[in-house]
Amino acid sequence: MRFMLLFSRQGKLRLQKWYTATAERDKKKMVRELMQIVLARKPKMCSFLEWRDLKIVYKRYASLYFCCAIEEQDNELITLEVIHRFVELLDKYFGSVCELDIIFNFEKAYFILDEFLMGGEIQDTSKKSVLKAIEQADLLQEEDESPRSVLEEMGLA
């Protein structure tokens, strides 16, 4: 997989993960171009399309589009299920995930994705293993942190 994008129906990019080195300028251009193409497609259309030298696999979940760019020899259907499994992981972690969860906890979304995919390939397909890694991290976080006052949080203290 070359990259994965999450964007909203309004064309706001919510998450981007690039698995090959790409210049920032090119990234922005590609994101813009792809969003335009995907958002223009109608609901019943097929989930695959050819774009440049890549294949695009996308699926919409509620207000969010999940969009993967894969290579010529990659399998489209299994990529659709990569997306689905990622959604399941987010859902399980956040408890019926919605776009806001991903906005406010973007770093967690990245961590979950990293546990699932690495370098564009699947690291583990088991929901249990992936979530175990994330939960461990959260437990560590709990131990780390002592409560802080709101003022302190806002940098006013």
């Binding site: 990019l13 981007q16 698995y19 090959t20 080195a21 922005k28 109608k42 019943k44 259309m45 097929c46 989930s47 695959f48 399309l49 050819e50 020899q73 399998n75 489209e76 259907l77 299994i78 659709l80 299920e81 990569v82 689905h84 399980k92 972690y93 956040f94 408890g95 906005i103 406010f104 906890n105 973007f106 770093e107 967690k108 990245y110 961590f111 990293d114 690495m118 370098g119 390939e121 699947i122 690291q123 583990d124 397909t125 088991s126 929901k127 249990k128 293993s129 890694a133 939960e135 991290a137 959260d138 560590l140 976080q141 709990e142 780390d144 942190e145 802080r148 709101v150 806002m154 940098g155």
Partner: protein
């Protein structure tokens, strides 16, 4: 699931994010961000040391700002500091920031690498995984250099935790993809392959991606993976849906791993070991069988996962292309999908069938689905599916169904989406040509194509129909009749006018017997379109008119009248004006015989690969063209470049170049000199030259539309460097300016000046086409020892050369010491997608650094005697290759750069010259004596120089000049 802290870990971050969300405008957002950036900056710069938590929070905010699309130019150091924190979440945010915003700052990379190194050796699996993720996310060369040797060790070590193994495998894969030279598997190979047997499915899933990539590059070293993969696959395929617990996905056992195993097997030919092969065939059959079973779940995830495996299995079957039974079963399965209610499956089935169509075993089976595919082309609502249907029709086309398929594609074209029209047009044109049994059908098809989708008919298509009509005399009459009829339409496409003009100009006589298409009727019909057409088409029509004068003398007066009118003969377009003037003159002064020779019917084109096929390949990549097609074109003997130029073409080219240069053709006001033999300055009227000198010998196409010839000689894609020898070598020895190179696309002019041991050369690159050249790069190299003899410097040119434009490049040349070789100029650019690559010798020769030296007869002979060592002299006796005319010789000797000394040699027939070659290191005095023998048409050339290598080189160079 614990009640995780989620967002409330960093409340300040949440507040900031919701502030941003509440911004009503872009400006407000930027204002809020700038405020935050200022705040963070002051915190980072402040005297008070920040605790880890605050650092984490601010780094996270910066990350958020960056992901919103804003630039971040600070905070890297703080992020790097977080890496060495002992708190997991701080470390994690640090790594996240680094992976997203890595900076190639070398100092930083060193610090990052240090932190990673510490984490890798921490033996804390969570930290190790974080470090490995960071390496994989950044994946830079520096990272590979630092860690490529360490990671294989972690991967295969017995005590490594499974989760770390998984990360290590994929991390290594990423490094291998970026820097394969740094990842050496060597001793680890066999242990990596055996990860396929690992107990832990997650480890196998991760490892197989690595193994597949390594196998593609080193199939032999990894071939033991085949049998391991087959047995693993077999175990999964035969397992019940509950056996694999968490690795079962919607009742499908390990779909990801299954797909990857099938993918890995596609790196290899079918297994040689009978048992292994049997087991694999069994697996494939089971997969095909399962597709027929009722689904275990109605969820789309179940069917997707199951079918993902099925499609991967079919890919493997197609890859092997050796099991007819499986191929036909695959085809039947795909046939069912063609009518499936899931759009995705229909799309994939059409795509997959395209490859099946090229297998001899399944081609016939694919053909049985023709009606369904045609129906898909007509009724699918999604253009990308229709595109696949069109591809499949193209792939399944053969002689038996060509007429049906071409007809369907033509009728689809009327309503086809704009995005795919051009490709459709190419496909129709190719099929029509390839399967044309009778050429009248072919001509009809192409004319229909122009009528229906004229705007999308590229030049290649109409050139091709002309090539074919010219080459096949059985279709010429029909073609003339059909274009004549097509032109009757009140509004016909300009491409139709082009084809019509060309064909009637060549073969109008074949239908002139019918009074309804008498010569004048034909002419009036063509001319009625003239004013609606663009310049190139008008130019073509003018050529058709002059051909008419030859074909039908009775039209001469009418046509001359047209040519003579102001709108032609004074046309503001140079090309049109020149054609009008020349054709008018030609028709009035040439005798009928001359006219008939000059305007003779075009000779047949050499058989070559269809230019449209080449275009489609370019468009779609080689994979788009089926195997049979490639073989066909090979059989036709179509060498890519048509085996070089034919005589008539070349001579016509040079003649027409000179007579009607396109606006960009002449760069320096110097005509490219005609080939040796016709050299004597033909500055006068070229047409007169054609008549006086070459009359009957002039090639048939001598005065002709360069448009046709030039364009039909479309260059085909080749990336081999075309080394053009010679011309630069001898032609420019005695002159400094001229056209160095010219083909259909590009003209290169040079202008140069030399003083002492320095020279400056201006290169003018002219784009002769109307299409932009992209990625235009030039480089000058001094091969071998020339490197130490000559110093050539230049700046890079702009990478884009617009159609018709000319760009200039300046070379600064310094002669360090005497030399023999020429520097090489390499030019690369893309023209319509095809890479053009050209290498030329630059005409920099040692004599360019001559300073003339005047001297008396006495001095000359004194020095001549001083240079009396045998190796200082070089002599050659040779036959005259060019005119021995005194003035010509003098001009050449002066052009050489030496002083031509009068009254030195006792024999006035002889020429003597003197000069000094200036190099950086030394000056080389040279004396030259040229003794012509007019009777014998021979010369004797003698050189004496203070350096023997210079004598030899000059002698070589000059011997070719006279």
């Amino acid at each position: 699931m614990p009640a995780v802290s989620k967002g409330d870990g960093m409340r300040g971050l949440a507040v900031f994010i919701s502030d941003i969300r509440n911004c009503k405008s872009k400006e407000a957002e930027i204002k809020r961000i700038n405020k935050e950036l200022a705040n963070i900056r002051s915190k980072f710069k402040g005297d008070k040391a920040l605790d880890g938590y605050s650092k984490k929070k601010y780094v996270c905010k910066l990350l958020f700002i960056f992901l919103l699309g804003h630039d971040i130019d600070f905070g890297h150091m703080e992020a790097v500091n977080l890496l060495s924190s002992n708190k997991y979440t701080e470390k994690q945010i640090g790594y996240l920031f680094i992976s997203v915003l890595v900076n190639s700052n070398s100092e930083l990379i060193r610090l990052i690498n240090n932190a990673i190194k510490n984490d890798l050796s921490s033996r804390n699996p969570t930290f190790m995984c974080l470090a490995l993720h960071c390496i994989a996310n950044v994946g830079s060369r520096e990272m590979a250099e630092a860690f490529a040797s360490e990671i294989p060790r972690i991967l295969v070590a017995g005590d490594t935790m499974d989760s770390v193994k998984q990360s290590a495998a994929l991390c290594l894969l990423r490094l291998y993809k970026t820097s394969p030279d740094l990842v050496l598997m060597g001793e680890w190979t066999s242990r990596v392959v055996h990860l396929l047997n690992d107990q832990h499915m997650g480890v196998v899933t991760a490892a197989i991606s690595l193994i597949t990539c390594l196998s593609q590059k080193n199939p032999d070293e990894f071939k033991t993976c085949v049998s391991l993969a087959v047995s693993r696959l077999s175990r999964i395929v035969s397992s019940a849906s509950t056996d694999l617990q968490d690795y079962t996905y919607y009742f499908v056992p390990a779909p990801w791993l299954s797909c990857k195993l099938l993918r890995l097997l596609q790196c290899y030919p079918p297994p040689e070991d009978g048992a292994v092969k049997g087991r694999l065939v069994e697996c494939l059959e089971t997969i095909l069988n399962k597709a027929q079973e009722p689904p275990k779940s109605k969820k789309v995830q179940h069917s997707n996962a199951k079918n993902a495996i099925l499609f991967e299995a079919i890919s493997l079957i197609i890859h092997y292309d050796s099991e007819p039974n499986l191929l036909v079963r695959a085809c039947n399965q795909l046939g069912q999908f063609l009518q499936h209610r899931e759009t995705n499956l229909r799309y994939l089935a059409l795509e997959s069938m395209c490859t099946l169509a090229s297998s001899e075993f399944s081609h016939e089976a694919v053909k049985t689905h023709i009606e369904t595919v045609i129906n898909a082309l007509k009724t699918e609502r999604d253009v990308s599916v229709r595109q696949r249907a069109a591809d499949l029709l193209y792939a399944m086309c053969d002689r038996s169904n060509a007429k049906q398929i071409v007809a369907e594609m033509l009728s689809y074209l009327e309503t086809a989406d704009y995005s795919i029209r051009e490709e459709m047009v190419l496909k129709v044109a190719i099929l029509a040509e390839k399967y044309a049994v009778d050429y009248s059908w072919y001509v009809d098809t192409i004319l229909n194509l122009i009528r229906i989708a004229g705007d999308y008919v590229s030049e290649e298509v109409w050139y091709r129909v002309i090539q074919i009509v010219i080459n096949r005399d059985d279709v010429q009459g029909y073609a003339a009749k059909t274009v004549f009829e097509a032109l009757q339409a009140p509004a016909c496409h300009e491409n139709m006018v082009k084809v019509g003009g060309y064909i009637l100009g060549e073969f109008g006589n074949l239908i002139a017997g019918d009074p309804r298409s008498s010569p004048l009727v034909q002419f009036n019909l063509l001319h009625s379109k003239f004013h609606l057409c663009s310049v190139p088409t008008r130019a073509l029509l003018l050529s058709a008119y002059i051909k008419f004068i030859n074909l039908f003398p009775e039209t001469k007066a009418t046509i001359q009248e047209v040519l003579r009118c102001d709108s032609q003969i004074r046309n503001s377009d140079v090309e049109l004006q020149q054609r009008a003037v020349e054709y008018l003159k030609l028709s009035s002064i040439a005798s009928t015989d001359v006219l008939a020779t000059v305007l003779e019917e075009m000779p047949p084109f050499p058989e070559r690969e269809s230019s449209i096929l080449a275009k489609l390949k370019k468009k779609k990549g080689p994979g788009a063209v089926s195997v049979t097609e490639l073989e066909d074109s090979k059989r036709e003997g179509g060498e890519l470049n048509g085996g070089g130029d034919r005589g008539p073409d070349t001579s016509a080219m040079s003649a027409s170049n000179a007579s009607t240069p396109s606006p960009s053709a002449d760069l320096l006001g110097i005509r490219s000199s005609a080939p040796a033999g016709t050299a004597p300055a033909s500055a006068g009227n070229l047409l007169v030259d054609v008549f006086s000198e070459a009359g009957p010998a002039a090639p048939s196409a001598a005065v002709n539309d360069d448009g046709f010839l030039r364009d039909l000689e479309q260059p085909t894609e080749t990336s081999d460097s075309l080394l053009v020898e010679g011309s630069g070598d001898s032609e420019f020895v005695c002159k400094n300016n001229g056209v160095l190179f010219e083909n259909q696309l590009l003209q290169i002019g040079i202008k140069s000046e030399y003083r002492q041991n320095l020279g400056r050369m201006y290169l003018f690159y002219g784009n002769k086409t109307s299409v932009q050249f992209a990625s235009f790069t030039t480089s000058v190299s001094c091969p071998g020892e020339l490197q130490s003899q000559l110093n050539v410097q230049t700046k890079q040119v702009e990478p884009l050369v617009e159609g018709g434009a000319q760009i200039q490049q300046v070379l600064n040349i310094e002669c360090l010491t005497d030399f023999s070789d020429a520097p090489l100029l390499n030019i690369k650019f893309r023209y319509g997608g095809a890479l053009q690559n050209l290498t030329l010798k630059l005409p920099v020769t040692i004599n360019k650094f001559f300073q003339p030296t005047e001297m008396s007869s006495h001095d000359f002979f004194q020095r001549w005697k001083q240079l009396s060592q045998p190796q200082q002299e070089a002599q050659k006796i040779f036959k005259a290759n060019h005119s021995m005319d005194t003035e010509v010789l003098k001009a050449k000797l002066l052009g050489l750069g030496t002083a031509l000394l009068d009254n030195v040699d006792p024999n006035p027939e002889n020429y003597v010259c003197a000069g000094v070659i200036q190099t950086k290191g030394q000056q080389v005095g040279c004396l030259l004596r040229l003794e012509p023998n007019a009777q014998a048409q021979m010369y004797r050339l003698t050189l004496r120089c203070s350096k023997d290598s210079v004598s030899r080189r000059l002698c070589e160079l000059l011997a070719e000049q006279f």
